[in-house]
């Protein structure tokens, strides 16, 4: 279990990532026991397989021309699944755009995800997901929202509630990253900042992004407890996030986690990583694949034999296909959909513009 002593040991100044299992899924410390039950661990494995399958399918829908640009999650799923387990119904999720498993855990449907990447705002309606913000495209600009949500939690004296806010490694260069950390710290807001450091901001490697020795260290200047974690180690991520949330809801303010991971896929389906990274680099990280490691743990600990994985994936694919088909059957985009959500009540000027266009359309027919 994480505690202040461990936190001191992993002070970002030592530049060492918190890690619980090795690349094969064996515990580094033989006496360590996860805080999750075997059933929960097995469920986490299934959720990870589900995220990975849905992600593969999304890329293939895009390749088939049935969906537009999509940012794959491959290689970063342990972070999302661990966060999904820790994030509660009453917590806020403030995404960047590459946290699929974390959204699903909060109740975002795959249909909505597909709808969004097929090009409809209806995909951000999140009908069954409470307290999930939509994807934020301008990098880091979502983080001040998280600090504001944290202020509101304190202001409204909401108990046992925290904000989980995501950003990538490139996002730590943006001013909003620093402003959000500073506001959250000054306001003692219960915000857990999660940097998914996947080594590249599209094509720009981390060493061109910052001269800092790591990204967690950026939290220290704001007096925010900060921890660098092996982001491909499901158990380390779960432990770090659980600890961060406990601290936040206990009134100890924000927490920063740098999750070290690797984007095994492309930045988006429009990107070609072979232009900016090497095969060796990809192989180095493939050995640390989060699914491989979680499976290793399950097998070594004899929780399950995982022989039915193919069957599981087949089932998942059926469900994912049905969600995609539901997205494809979504009603056509209407003029009303463009105007109807700009304001609570449509101002006369927008009514005029809408009417003029609708009259034109009627004339064309």
């Amino acid at each position: 279990m994480l505690d202040q002593k461990t936190l001191d040991k992993y002070d970002p100044i030592h530049n060492k990532a918190y890690q619980l299992i090795d690349d094969e899924g064996r515990p580094l410390d033989k006496t360590w026991k996860p805080r999750l039950s075997n059933e929960e661990i097995l469920q986490a494995y299934k959720d990870l397989v589900f995220e990975r399958t849905a992600d593969f399918m999304a890329v293939s829908y895009q390749r088939q021309g049935r969906m537009y640009t999509y940012p794959p999650n491959l290689g970063q799923e342990a972070i999302h699944i661990a966060a999904g387990l820790v994030t509660q119904e009453q917590d806020w999720l403030v995404p960047a755009f590459r946290e699929l498993g974390a959204w699903l855990a909060k109740g975002v449907s795959l249909k909505e995800l597909f709808l969004y990447f097929k090009g409809s705002e209806d995909g951000s309606r999140f009908e069954k997901a409470n307290r999930v913000l939509p994807i934020s495209v301008p990098i880091s600009s979502q983080l001040p929202h998280a600090a504001g949500l944290g202020y509101a939690i304190n202001y409204n004296k909401e108990k046992d509630t925290a904000v989980f806010a995501y950003v990538g490694d490139g996002g730590t260069s943006e001013g909003d990253f620093h402003e959000a950390l500073n506001f959250a710290a000054v306001w003692n807001a219960p915000v857990i900042f999660i940097i998914q450091n996947n080594q590249f901001a599209i094509s720009v490697p981390l060493k061109m992004q910052t001269k800092s020795i790591n990204l967690a260290i950026k939290g220290l200047a704001y007096n925010i407890p900060s921890l660098m974690v092996d982001g491909n180690d499901f158990f380390a991520m779960h432990e770090a996030l659980s600890y961060a949330r406990e601290q936040a809801v206990a009134g100890k303010g924000p927490f920063l986690i740098e999750a070290r991971t690797f984007r095994a896929g492309a930045h988006t389906t429009s990107d070609d990583p072979s232009k900016y990274r090497t095969k060796e680099e990809e192989e180095h990280w493939a050995a640390k694949d989060p699914l491989k490691r979680l499976k290793g743990y399950i097998l070594h600990s004899k929780i399950a034999d995982l022989k039915d994985e193919e069957e599981l994936i087949k089932e998942f694919k059926k469900h994912i296909d049905s969600e995609f088909e539901a997205a494809e059957k979504h009603p056509e985009y209407k003029v009303e959909d463009m105007f109807g959500y700009m304001f609570a009540e449509l101002p006369d000027e927008l009514k005029r513009q809408k009417n003029a266009y609708e009259n034109y359309l009627r004339g064309v027919k």
Partner: protein, 325 residues
């Protein structure tokens, strides 16, 4: 009734809303202990507490972005950009998120917040303290942008802005903050946003202005009257949406229009207003719709400001030219 200037009227509106609605908070740079650099929020922290009226870190993007977070969780933040030119660091939050969140989430989240911005020149200030950025906001879909020119309007429009379910940019003509005094009801009242007001009826030409330019236009009308001209003056009050009805009715009657803005000319509010006149009153026009605006220059530092600011004499000279056209 109580005689108030703009500063007092705005303070009164904030005080009323803080009192009657616990979800309202007021924050920004120096707005707490000091009561704002213009003293608009003076005394409010003592009355309503440091959790509701407070100084924030000095970061405009952070101020605007955190307010969005508060607003979507049910609070009603009223934030201050200390000066017009300091709103620029907050553009990303205002243009990319605050104006778009309702649309992006199909109405699941709305952003009921007010951004107060003291704006405009003529106060002998440093660079970035005398700007008129209303066109940037008016050009941004999803924002309402309003500017009062009197204490009475300031109080009623600010109360309406705070009660509005969508984000409102509330721009305050700082040059006349203390220059205009007026009897203002002490009780609460609100003035619907989006409506212009005919301040003075006339027959031969319509002047459309807002903010500090209203006072200059009124002085010009005194000169014009001595020359025997009859001028109608409209206080636009709302940069977006624009009150087409009031403008077109007036110009159809007078046949001439002069738009006066302190903001730079190109792509500015005057261009928009003249487009509306062309669309709505083309056949009534007896002179080219004309604008008298700030130049497409940086507003000069105090020694040069006299060349930039629009004087009553310049307005009067345009009135004469257009009536004699």
């Amino acid at each position: 009734m109580k005689v108030m200037n703009l500063v007092q009227a705005i303070n009164d509106a904030l005080d009323i809303k803080l009192k009657e609605d616990k979800s309202v908070v007021v924050y920004g740079e120096d707005v707490g202990v000091e009561g704002g650099v213009f003293r608009v929020t003076e005394g409010l922290q003592v009355k309503h507490g440091v959790e509701r009226v407070f100084d924030s870190p000095l970061a405009e993007s952070g101020i605007a972005g955190t307010a969005l977070g508060m607003a979507i969780s049910g609070m009603k933040p009223v934030i201050e950009m200390q000066f017009d030119g300091f709103s620029y660091p907050a553009f990303n939050q205002i243009l990319s998120h605050i104006s778009r969140f309702r649309n992006r989430t199909r109405g699941k989240y709305s952003v009921p917040m007010v951004i107060r911005i003291p704006y405009g020149g003529g106060i002998n200030a440093l660079e970035h303290h005398s700007e008129s950025p209303e066109a940037y906001f008016g050009h941004t879909p999803g924002l309402k942008v309003v500017i009062p020119s009197t204490p009475y309007d300031a109080k009623g429009m600010l109360i309406a802005a705070i009660e509005d379910p969508d984000p409102v940019i509330f721009m305050e003509p700082k040059r006349i903050y203390r220059a205009i005094k007026q009897e203002v009801p002490e009780e609460r009242y609100s003035i619907p946003l989006g409506k212009a007001k005919v301040l003075q009826p006339g027959e031969q030409i319509t002047i459309i202005a807002y903010g500090a330019m209203i006072r200059e236009a009124q002085k010009a009308i005194v000169i014009a009257k001595q020359q025997g001209f009859s001028v109608e003056l409209i206080d636009l009050r709302s940069i977006w949406p624009i009150d087409r009805e009031t403008i077109s009715q007036s110009v159809r009657k007078t046949g001439r229009v002069l738009v006066v803005t302190e903001a730079p000319q190109s792509y500015g509010p005057a261009a928009e207003l003249i487009s509306i006149v062309n669309e709505e009153a083309f056949l009534s026009l007896e002179a080219p719709p004309t604008r008298l605006t700030g130049f497409d220059t940086v507003i000069p530092l105090p020694m040069g400001e006299k060349h930039y600011m629009i004087s009553p004499e310049r307005i009067a000279s345009e009135i004469e030219r257009l009536i004699k056209y």
